[in-house]
Symmetry: D2
C-alpha cells in the first residue's frame, strides 16, 4: 500500500532526525530554555527580518491554535474563520472548549476576504444590542487553506489592513506553510507574513519534522505571558530542545523550502494525470493537496494500491477525494499513481 492520504505518514527528514541523534546525550535545560531553541529563534527572527518577534515552539497544530486563541481573546470575544477552517471543523471544538465561539463565513475556496471581515465587523458594531452577541476580535486564516489554495500578497495586505483598522488580530495557521511558500504563483515570504499578521506559525509536522510548529508573534500585546498559556494548555514540552533542533535543521539552510517545493512537484505529476484523464478538480490549487472528482469504480480500483482521503459524494457515481504528497513522497510512487490514474 502506498500512502497518499495525508502528509504525515513518515517520520522526519533524515537531516532532521540526524540532528536529534547527534545531540541526544547532551544535557540541556528544559522547556525551551536551551541553546538550540535560542538559536532556532534567532534563525526565524532573521528569516522574518524582525528581531523583536516572539517565537515559541509547540508540538502540534491544534495545540497551537487553541493556545494562541486562548492567549489572545477575552471571554466574550470570538474568532472569525472560513466555514471549512480547521478550527471550525477538525479540532473537536478545541476553541469552544477554551470558551470562544468560532464565527464563520462561507467560502468556496477556503479563503476569507477583507470584505467579509469588514461586513462581520460592521454588523456587530451597528447592532444596538451588540453585547448580546459575540464580539469578533480575531481573524483566523490558513495558508495554504484546507483546500490547498494560497493567499496572494495583495489579499493578505487587504486582510491585514481591515483587521488593523478595526482592532482585530490576524492569525495565520501555517501548518502547511512550506508548501504554500513554495507554490508557483506564491508572492509571499516570511518577512511579509510577519509584518502583515499579528501571529502565525511555521508548520513542521507536515513538512519534514517528526513534529513541531513554530509560533511567531509580531504583536507585542499577544506576546505577554504567552509561556504561561502554553504551560496551562499542556503544550510545554519538557525536552523543548527537540523542537529547537528540528527547526534549526529545517530552517537554517533552506531545507524547509526545498522540501515544500519538491512536494508540490510531486503533486503536479498527479495533478497532470488527473487533468489529462479528464477528471475535474473540486478546487484548483498548486500546493501538495490534489482535490479531484472521480467515478466511484475508478476509486475502488485505486484503493487497492493507494490510500487517499474521501472528501464527499458528488453524485450517485462520483466522489471527490484528496491525494496528498509530502516532503517524503518518492517520485516513483507519484509516477505509479499518475499512471494508474491515467489507465482506463
Amino acid at each position: 500500500m502506498i500512502y497518499f492520504n495525508c502528509d504525515y505518514n513518515e517520520g522526519a527528514h533524515p537531516e532532521v532526525l540526524g540532528r536529534l541523534c547527534e545531540t541526544n546525550m547532551e544535557q540541556t535545560s528544559g522547556y525551551g530554555a536551551d541553546i538550540y531553541c535560542e538559536r532556532a529563534r534567532g534563525v526565524i527572527r532573521g528569516l522574518c527580518g524582525n528581531d523583536r518577534l516572539g517565537v515559541h515552539f509547540l508540538v502540534g497544530g491544534t495545540q497551537v491554535n487553541l493556545t494562541v486563541i486562548a492567549a489572545a481573546l477575552r471571554p466574550h470575544q470570538g474568532v472569525l474563520a472560513a466555514e471549512s477552517g480547521h478550527i471550525n471543523v477538525h479540532e473537536t471544538g478545541a476553541i469552544e472548549a477554551c470558551g470562544h465561539k468560532v464565527l464563520t463565513v462561507p467560502s468556496e475556496n477556503g479563503k476569507i476576504s477583507a470584505r467579509q471581515v469588514e461586513e462581520v465587523y460592521r454588523i456587530h458594531v451597528e447592532d444596538e444590542s451588540m453585547e448580546h452577541t459575540v464580539q469578533p476580535k480575531m481573524v483566523y486564516i490558513s495558508n495554504p487553506t484546507e483546500l490547498g489554495t494560497i493567499y496572494s500578497k495583495a489579499e493578505l495586505e487587504e486582510l491585514s489592513a481591515v483587521c488593523k483598522k478595526n482592532g482585530l488580530y490576524l492569525f495565520m495557521d501555517g501548518a502547511r506553510l512550506g508548501y504554500g511558500l513554495a507554490a508557483k504563483e506564491n508572492d509571499l515570504d516570511l518577512k511579509i507574513i510577519a509584518e502583515l499578521c499579528d501571529v502565525f506559525y511555521i508548520g513542521g509536522t507536515k513538512a519534514g519534522a517528526l513534529f513541531g510548529e513554530a509560533v511567531v508573534i509580531s504583536n507585542p500585546a499577544l506576546q505577554e505571558d504567552f509561556r504561561y498559556i502554553i504551560k496551562q494548555k499542556g503544550g510545554m514540552l519538557a525536552k523543548g530542545r527537540l523542537l529547537g533542533i528540528q527547526f534549526l535543521a529545517l530552517l537554517e539552510n533552506e531545507l524547509y523550502f526545498e522540501l515544500g517545493k519538491r512536494a508540490n512537484v510531486m503533486a503536479d505529476i498527479i495533478r497532470k494525470a488527473c487533468r489529462e484523464s479528464g477528471y475535474p478538480f473540486l478546487i484548483e490549487n498548486t500546493t501538495n493537496q490534489i482535490f479531484t472528482i472521480m467515478p466511484d469504480d475508478k476509486l475502488d480500483s485505486l484503493r487497492e494500491k493507494y490510500t487517499f482521503s474521501y472528501e464527499k459524494r458528488i453524485d450517485e457515481s462520483h466522489s471527490a477525494v484528496r491525494f496528498c504528497t509530502s516532503w517524503a513522497t518518492e517520485e516513483v510512487n507519484a509516477q505509479k499513481l499518475a499512471e494508474d490514474i491515467s489507465n482506463d
Copy 2:
C-alpha cells in the same frame, strides 16, 4: 411612546405581583427549599402528568440554556440548533463559554426537522475520524421559535424519535411557551412536551412574571446533581421562593395560558392590519411576534409613536421589523398601531 419592541417592557401581571406582596414578610428557607417552590413544583408535575419530573426555577433564559447544556454535555459534545437559534446568535457565546460548540443547521422558519438531525448524526458517525469533530449530543429547539413559529405534535414526535434512536437529548427552550401553547393551530400541551423532550422550560419572564423560568427535566440522567450546576453558574436565587410564588400564581389557575391567548389576539389585530395593507410577512406565524416588511418611510413615521425592533434590510427602500405583543398589551394600543399601519 408605546412599546412593541419586546414582551418584557412591563413588570408582572398584577395577580403575580399581588402574591409577592402578600407573602413578603413571611420567613422561609432559601434557595428553593421553601413551601411555595414545593407547591409550584407539584402544580407543574400535575400539569405535565408526571410526578417524577425534576423541576427547578431560574431567573432568566440565557441562564437556563447555559445551565441545562453545561449539565448535560461532556466536553467534546455539542448542541444542535437552528442558525437563528437564540443560543447561537443572542447569548454572547454563553454556551461556548461553558466549553461547547453550537452545531448549526439552516432553517427558513426557525425550526429544525427530524431529517436534519438524522443527517447531522449520520455524517458524524460515518466519519472515520469522528473524534476530530464535535460529537452531536443534544438538540436545542425553541417553541415558539425566534420567528414565532411553533412545532406541531407530529413534528415534535419525529424529532423526539430521532433523538431517542440516536442517543441525543431533546431540549425545548420555552421562553415564550405560553404564547405557543395558546396559538390557534397548536396541538401540543405540557403533558406531551414533558413526554417527548428530555428537558424543557416554561418561560415566565416574557409571559406574566417579573422574571423566572421553570425548568422541567424528564430524563433522569439530566436530573443528577442539577442543583450543583445551577449554583455554580450563578443561577441559584437566594430568595428562591420569589420564583415559586410567581409560578404558582401563573399556573395553578390557568392564568398563564389565558395571558398567552390574549397576547396572540392582540397580535392578530396588528397582523390583520399588515395583511390588509399589503405588507408582506417575513414569516407567517400565529403567536405574539409579527414579522412584517414595510417601506422605510412608513417605518420612520411609525417610529414617532411606537417602538419595535429592526430585523434586517430587505431592499433599498424596505426593511423587516418585528412588532411584539405580550400579556400586558392594552387593546387600545394594539388598535392604535393597527390604525397607524393601515393609514397611508
Copy 3:
C-alpha cells in the same frame, strides 16, 4: 419557628416593594437601559463621589463574583482569597468553572493582610519557573467577611497600596456591605471604598432588596465590555429596571444604611445575651452575624423555636453556630432569643 439562620428569609423592605408596585405597569427598555437604572447609577456615583464609575446591577452574589473575575483575568491568572472566602468554599467552584484558580491564604478572622498579598506576589515573581504556576492578578476580599469582621480604613489602604504596587486588582465583595458600613467601629464609607478598590459591590439581596447587587467599577481597565460578560454569564436581567428601582429605594434616602444599623443593634441584643451567659464567641465582630459556641444540649433546646446555622464541632459536647439578624429582624424576636439564650 423564628428564623435566624440567614439574612435572606424575608422578601424586601416595604419601601422597596412599594416602588416595584408603583412602577409595575410602566413600559421601559430592557437590560438596564431604563430611566430607573440610570438614576440609580447616578445616586451611586454621587455617594461614591466619582461620576466616571461603571455601575452595573446583577441579581446575586455568586453571579457578581464570577462575572467580575471572568471579566478581569486572563486564563493563566488567579485570584487570591482567604481560605474561608465565599468564592473558595461556597460557590461550587464557580470561579474555577470560568477557568481561574482561587489562590488561598490562611486567615483566622476572615481577612487578608497586605503582608500576605505581598508574600504571595513575591514568591511568584521570584520563582524561576513562574510560568508553571498560576499568576496572582486579583485580590478578593469580603467586607464584612464571612466571619462578620470588617476592614479598617488603614487595612484597606495598605491592601490597596500593595495591589497597586504589584499590578493586582482589588475586588471587594460587599454582599453584606450595609451591615459593615453601619458597624460601630467602621471608618470606611463608599467614597473611600470606591477610591481604594478597583471594583466592589453593594449588596442588596441580604440588606433590604428582593434581590440585587450593584457592581461599582473604578478601574477603567475593568469597565471595558463588561456588559458582554454579564450577558454571557447569564446575569443580564431582561427587566433590568427591577434592580434600578430597588437600589433607588435603598440608596437615595439613606434607607440602606439605616437598615444595616438596625440589624446590628438586633445582633447586639443577642450578642449581649451570649456574653452574659458566658458563651464564648468563635470570632468577635460587631455586624449582623453572631458566631458563638454553646453546649450541644443548649443548642437542641434552642432548635425547638429558632433556626440558626451550624458552623462546626468544637469538642465532644460543644459546637459553634451562627445567629444572623437582618434588616427584617423584629426586636421582639431578638429579645425572645436573647432570653432563651440566657435561661438555663
Copy 4:
C-alpha cells in the same frame, strides 16, 4: 556543568532512539491507529494482566492530567490532591482552566491517606447545602510523589477501597513510575496498580523516552470517547506511532524497569554522601530524587559544577535543594557529586 536539576536533561535512551531511526521512513496511519501503537498497547495490557484496558499515548504529563480529569468529571466535580500535588502547584492552573477545582489536603510526605479521602467525602455529603460546594469525585495521587516517596500496596488498597465505596475515581500520576516500581521497598507492580486505580499513566518523558506518557484506563466509564477529549485538548499526536515505538522499546523487554533501578542506584550514591556528611533530608525516600538540607555556602560551592533545584529556605543559613538522577546519569558524575558533597 553537570546537570542534576531534573530527570529530563538528555534525549532518549539509545535503544529508544534507535527504534525511531529504524522505522523512520515507514508509512503508517496517523493519530495512534498504527501497528506500533497497537503492539505497544498489547504489551502494556500484558504487563497489566488485563486485555480490556484502554491504552492511549500522549506527549506530556500536564497534558495527560488535564485530559484525564476533563474526561472524567462533570462541571461541579473536583479532584482531591495533596497540597504539593503537581496539578495543584505546577501546571499553571491547567485543571481549573478545564473548569475543575483542585481540592487539597495537607501532606507532609506528598501522599494522601484513605482516612483523608474519607473525611473530605464525609464532610461533603453531610453538608446540608452540599450543592454550594464542589463535589469531590476523583482522587489524584502521584507515585512516586513530588517528594519521591512511594505508596505501599497496603496504602493503595486502602485508598482504592475508600474510593470505590464512595464512588470516587482513583487516578495515579506515574510521571516517574519507573523509578517508583524500582525502589527498594516497593511492593507494587503494574498489575496491582491497574487493578486498584481507575486510571494511571506510565511516564516515558522522565524515564528513557524522548517524550511520551502511556495512559491506562481500567474503569470502562472513563474509556468512553476518550480519544475525542485527547484531540480537543490538543494532545493527539499526528505521527502517533512515535509514541508507540518508544513504549515498545521501553516495555517489551524490561528496559523501563532497568533504567528506573539504575537511576535509583545512582541516587543512593548521592544520598549516602549526604547522610555520611550529616546533611539531613527534607524527606526520606529511595527513588531518584534526593531532597537534602545544606548550608548556603556549601550550595554556592556545588553550584559551580552542578545544577540542582532550589526547594525552599530552611533558616537564615540553610536551604533545601533537590538532586535528581535519571536513566541517563553517568556513574562517574554521581561519584563526583558525592565526593564534592563529602568534601569540606
